[in-house]
């Protein structure tokens, strides 16, 4: 039984614009580290943003843990979003806030506007923020401002923020594109460890095919909004890769 199922997903940013996703379907299982690969502009970021509806598809069906995602009203959508952790290419931290406040912002889906306004987070929330920061190796940087950290450290804050949500699914949008190759590997290794510890499936956009082959167990390949490959990493080969990336050469 799949955890996330996507059926015939179509996206168009404006009524007259081109179709960005042209009927994508796939399934994510409980223990998947699922990669989406493909050239720039293939629709990877759009696809991943449809899962938590940062982008609204025009048609299709998304089912996550039995919930019909596309039918939710805005309140229920916020409920759903707090169960989906997201990690971003540009980390998307609030630079002028402390590392602690950035990590605590992962709890916003669980607290009232009043709590958020005065930052009245509970002792338990602060305690779990400290423990996730310890888990990602940032215990020494709790009180620093987010903009004082290096790229790799900032992405670790992003991971900690996502973990604060107690996510049932992690969406990764090019988590390593802003990092150098060595740090990229460290971050991917950390994510795969954490996914096992928290027993959370991962859906990951990734530009770097090498990293995808190394860390992920399943891959779909997108090209210009169309699915070109869907299967376990072991079935991927260089001929299929060339097909997926054929557009980029042109």
């Amino acid at each position: 039984m799949s955890i996330l199922s996507v059926r015939d997903l179509r996206v168009r940013y404006s009524a007259s614009g081109p179709e960005i996703l042209k009927g994508i379907s796939f399934d994510v299982e409980a223990d998947d580290f699922f990669a989406i690969i493909g050239p720039s502009g293939a629709g990877k970021s759009t696809l991943i943003r449809c899962i938590n509806r940062l982008v609204e598809p025009i048609s299709g069906k998304i089912t996550l843990y039995g919930t019909d995602v596309l039918s939710l009203n805005s309140r229920k959508l916020r409920r759903l979003r707090r169960d989906i952790g997201m990690i971003f290419q540009e980390f998307n931290l609030v630079d002028r806030m402390s590392v602690m406040d950035n990590v605590l912002s992962g709890r916003l889906g669980y607290v009232s506007n009043f709590t958020a306004l005065f930052r009245l987070f509970s002792k338990e929330d602060i305690g779990s923020a400290l423990s996730v920061l310890d888990r990602v190796g940032l215990s020494d940087h709790v009180d620093k401002r987010a903009d004082q950290l290096s790229g790799g450290q900032r992405q670790r804050v992003g991971i900690a923020r996502a973990l604060m949500q107690n996510p049932k699914l992690l969406l990764l949008d090019e988590p390593t594109s802003s990092l150098d190759p060595k740090i990229s590997r460290e971050v991917m290794a950390l994510i795969i460890e954490i996914a096992a510890e928290y027993k959370v499936p991962i859906l990951c956009n990734i530009h770097d095919v090498q990293l995808a082959l190394e860390f992920c167990n399943k891959i779909i390949g997108l090209q210009d909004g169309v699915k070109m490959f869907d299967g376990p990493t072991s079935k991927m080969n260089s001929k299929k890769l060339d097909e997926i990336y054929a557009m980029e050469v042109l």
């Binding site: 938590n52 940062l54 916020r78 409920r79 759903l80 979003r81 707090r82 989906i84 952790g85 997201m86 971003f88 540009e90 980390f91 998307n92 931290l93 609030v94 630079d95 002028r96 806030m97 912002s105 992962g106 709890r107 916003l108 889906g109 669980y110 506007n113 958020a116 306004l117 992003g158 923020r161 996502a162 949500q165 969406l171």
Partner: protein, 273 residues
């Protein structure tokens, strides 16, 4: 390569175009000079009371009456000076409160219902800025009577335009990435504002507010002219009683106050940004 005759034709064409451009420019110059002459004739030559002005010596003598300082007035200036600063400060703070809806409605990326709320906010900003503070002062003196309250209200309304415009523009220019992140964790619109928008624009808003406070000291020091309290009222009294050294004293006091405002605003801004 172009033949000799084509080149000659091109030279002629360019010369003709240049002559035409020069002719056009001379017409514009002539029009500007004619306008200036006409304005000088109607506003200065016809409108000045030349008989009363008398000789150059007379003009200098009148101006000289303002030389000198009425030191005796000084103790009476302390209270109005403090009042002036208080009017400026309260006016700025109240202006910030009035600004909140104008900023919210006036930033395209967060305005709740663009076709209605955005023009409404822009109208508020334009109205606030296009009416002079003295006119706002007259309006509020008529509404709430003579005194500092009218001054506070006038400055509050006059401050909305600039603070709201700069703040709304700062919000329009912000980095959308943190906004997306707070949305993705399930944050409400309010939480997005508190966590992703406000921290980014707060330094800009604080800087703008301090700048506006400094300008408001200038404004509040003349608002007394229309009966809205502060140093302006003393200024007006000195002028009416023909105590010209007293007028000079008040002007110097205003200058000192503005200097004070500039120094404070410099250090506060440096501390915050």
């Amino acid at each position: 390569m172009a033949s000799a005759s084509t080149t000659a034709r091109n030279v002629d064409r360019i010369l003709a175009a240049r002559t035409k451009a020069k002719f056009g420019r001379s017409i514009i110059y002539a029009a500007v000079i004619a306008m200036a002459v006409f304005s000088i004739k109607t506003t200065i030559i016809d409108d000045t009371d030349w008989a009363r002005l008398g000789s150059v010596a007379n003009v200098l003598a009148s101006a000289a009456e303002f030389l000198g300082v009425d030191w005796g007035l000084l103790p009476n200036l302390l209270e109005p000076a403090i009042e002036t600063i208080m009017v400026a400060t309260l006016g700025t703070l109240l202006g910030v409160v009035v600004c909140v809806p104008a900023i919210w409605f006036g930033a395209l990326n967060i305005t709740p219902f663009t076709p209605v709320t955005y023009p409404l906010a822009r109208l508020m900003m334009t109205l606030s800025r296009s009416i002079h503070e003295i006119v706002w002062g007259l309006f509020f003196v008529a509404a709430v009577g003579l005194g500092a309250l009218a001054g506070v209200l006038a400055l509050a309304i006059r401050s909305v335009g600039f603070i709201a415009k700069m703040s709304a523009e700062a919000i329009e220019d912000l980095d959308p990435n943190p906004v997306e992140a707070i949305r993705a964790v399930g944050g409400s619109d309010f939480q997005v504002f508190i966590y992703a928008i406000l921290p980014q624009v707060l330094p800009v808003i604080v800087g703008v507010v301090i700048f506006e406070w400094e300008i408001n000291i200038r404004r509040s020091s003349i608002l007394g002219l229309v009966g809205a309290g502060g140093l302006g009222l003393v200024f007006f009294r000195q002028l009416n009683t023909f105590n010209f050294p007293g007028v000079t004293t008040v002007i110097l006091a205003i200058l000192a106050l503005i200097l004070f405002g500039e120094i404070v605003s410099y250090y506060v801004r440096k501390a915050i940004i």
